[in-house]
């Protein structure tokens, strides 16, 4: 069964002048279709302004479609009574770690979601413990979030969502404000959730290195889905990606350039290991 179904989604931002007259309409999402299976790791790529964050907000019923429909776990996001069940089954992690941590202590923040859901006190503690352990932040549970690094804060945010026992986690550029080591930390935690706990992950990002392990990749530009497929299929089309102002991983780029200058390599090489293997074959 599909955990998320997006059908002909259109979203328009309407700009108004001071009197409230419509000045202009920006179409942020333009007829997007998307099907995401339970347990998948899906990445949505796009440069700034491609509509990927707007899309993410639809999956959590923070924004509603102008046209088309979004179903999360079989529920239409436009029905008001579905709001809480949808937000419960599709948790969301945002870009800025400082602006989404509510508690003054790590464990209190992780407990915020379950508290809102009306979970019993004893179970809240169990959930907090298991979520913090899942992201490797259990030993920081008594710390103030202000004393953590960016990557650690983001892992706390993920734990906060996990504690609500979602079927699916949407991460809206969770690594955009982090340094390289923080990025790795967060991506490792997210992959573990997907592989070990079987939670569906939708990762919105513009870092190519983060999507090579995804099951499926969507590439967005100007509100449309321009490409979709496995990472291999996507990264085989280096020139098209470049025309969408996206860079490819360095290894892929190297392989691409080598191929162009006559080395017999296959398309869509994603890791250094792979390139080494293929180069060995060539000799």
């Amino acid at each position: 069964m599909n955990i998320i179904d997006v059908s002909k989604l259109v979203f328009e931002y309407i700009r108004r002048d001071d009197e409230g007259n419509v000045e202009g309409i920006t179409t942020a999402i333009d007829h997007v279709d998307m099907e995401i299976k339970q347990g998948d790791f899906v990445a949505v790529l796009g440069h700034n302004g491609s509509g990927k964050s707007t899309l993410a907000k639809h999956l959590n019923a923070i924004l509603y479609p102008s046209e088309g429909t979004v179903w999360v776990d079989g529920k239409d996001t436009q029905e008001e009574e579905n709001l809480i069940p949808i937000r419960k089954s599709a948790g969301m992690v945002f870009q800025n770690p400082d602006n989404q941590i509510i508690g003054q202590i790590v464990e209190e923040d992780v407990g915020f979601g379950p508290e809102n859901l009306g979970v019993e006190t004893k179970q809240i503690w169990e959930r907090v413990e298991e979520s913090l352990k899942a992201v490797g932040m259990y030993k920081y549970r008594k710390k103030s979030p202000n004393r953590l690094s960016g990557g650690q804060k983001q892992r706390v945010s993920i734990a906060g969502v996990l504690a609500m026992h979602p079927k699916c986690i949407i991460l809206d550029e969770p690594t955009a404000m982090l340094d390289p080591s923080g990025r790795k930390e967060v991506i490792r935690a997210v992959r573990a959730l997907n592989e070990v706990e079987g939670i569906t992950v939708i990762l919105i990002t513009h870092y190519m290195e983060e999507v090579i392990h995804a099951d499926k990749v969507y590439v967005m530009d100007k509100g449309r889905v321009e490409m979709q497929g496995t990472p291999k299929e996507i990264f085989a089309q280096v020139d098209k990606l470049r025309s969408l102002r996206l860079s490819v991983p360095q290894v892929t780029l190297l392989a691409h350039e080598l191929k162009k200058s006559g080395v017999a390599l296959p398309d869509g090489i994603l890791t250094t290991q792979e390139l080494i293997e293929e180069l060995k074959k060539v000799r």
């Binding site: 907000k57 959590n60 923070i62 809480i84 937000r87 419960k88 948790g91 969301m92 945002f94 800025n96 400082d98 602006n99 989404q100 941590i101 509510i102 508690g103 003054q104 202590i105 464990e107 209190e108 407990g111 915020f112 979601g113 379950p114 508290e115 809102n116 859901l117 009306g118 979970v119 019993e120 006190t121 809240i124 503690w125 907090v128 008594k142 710390k143 103030s144 202000n146 906060g160 969502v161 609500m164």
Partner: protein
């Protein structure tokens, strides 16, 4: 300089005071403040000092940490003391330029300064040993009866806890904006008062803009985590009175009685 303000911040350690029910601490702070303003004699103040010293010792928070909080209000303290010194009528000690310092004035100034210092340290002990969440939980519980007359207690306490959480973040941001502007030649330190205040405007505008942006983000994050007001919410750390809380109430009652006895009959 900005980071030195400790008022309203939590100091993480483990102590009997940290474990106390926040309601006890709130009531205790209130009783302590009232006790400071009940009498003007030296004896109750001595008791208040002893009590405060004992509390500080119990809290395991370094004393230096609390004193830092005083720096922020030192100007206010001086102004209050000076005004008291000059404006209280009584036996003249010295007079110059048509102003007179009176004996009563000096005494009043000392008392008011002591009161303020005790008050600030006393209440910062509470905020240093209580997480904002506990604090607002405590307030919510204490003011619970007001819900009957439709006072939005839960919302008020939520706003307070969020405000407290963002104090250090916004302070850090102010520091950052200040440095960024100083790097481009902004001058915050020279000139007279009016000039200094005018120099703050380019600091406040970006600060407000960013605060609103943060507020917007935070509201979204809270909604995404199913926040829908106080109704149907459970507590991760429900407040329950324990033995030590009862003991603390007894200690408070003894203290208050002691102050009253000392003030009335000595």
């Amino acid at each position: 300089m900005i980071r030195e303000i400790t008022f309203g911040q939590y100091y993480q350690t483990d102590s009997a005071l940290h474990r106390l029910n926040p309601r006890v601490k709130l009531v205790g702070t209130m009783i302590y403040i009232i006790s400071l303003f009940l009498f003007k004699e030296a004896a109750p103040f001595a008791l208040a000092l002893v009590f405060l010293a004992a509390i500080i010792k119990l809290s395991h928070v370094p004393f230096k940490y609390m004193i830092r909080g005083l720096k922020a209000v030192i100007v206010l303290l001086l102004i209050t003391a000076v005004f008291n010194m000059f404006l209280t009528r009584g036996e003249a000690l010295v007079s110059f330029w048509g102003l007179t310092i009176t004996k009563e004035g000096v005494i009043a100034a000392v008392f008011i300064a002591l009161r303020l210092i005790f008050l600030i340290i006393g209440s910062s002990v509470m905020t240093l040993t209580t997480t904002p969440n506990q604090l607002t939980d405590g307030l919510e519980k204490l003011m619970g009866p007001l819900k009957v007359i439709k006072v939005p207690i839960h919302e008020i306490s939520m706003m307070m806890s969020i405000a407290l959480r963002f104090i250090p973040i916004l302070l850090e941001e102010t520091d950052k904006i200040m440095k960024a502007q100083m790097a481009r030649g902004a001058d915050f330190d020279s000139g007279n008062m009016i000039k200094k205040i005018k120099a703050m405007v380019p600091l406040l505008v970006p600060l407000f803009v960013s605060a609103f942006r943060r507020a917007n983000d935070l509201a979204m994050a809270m909604e995404a985590r199913c926040y829908q007001g106080g109704e149907g919410r459970t507590k991760m750390k429900p407040l329950k009175y324990g033995k030590s809380d009862v003991l603390a109430y007894v200690v408070l009652a003894v203290y208050l009685a002691g102050v009253i006895v000392l003030g009335k009959w000595l």
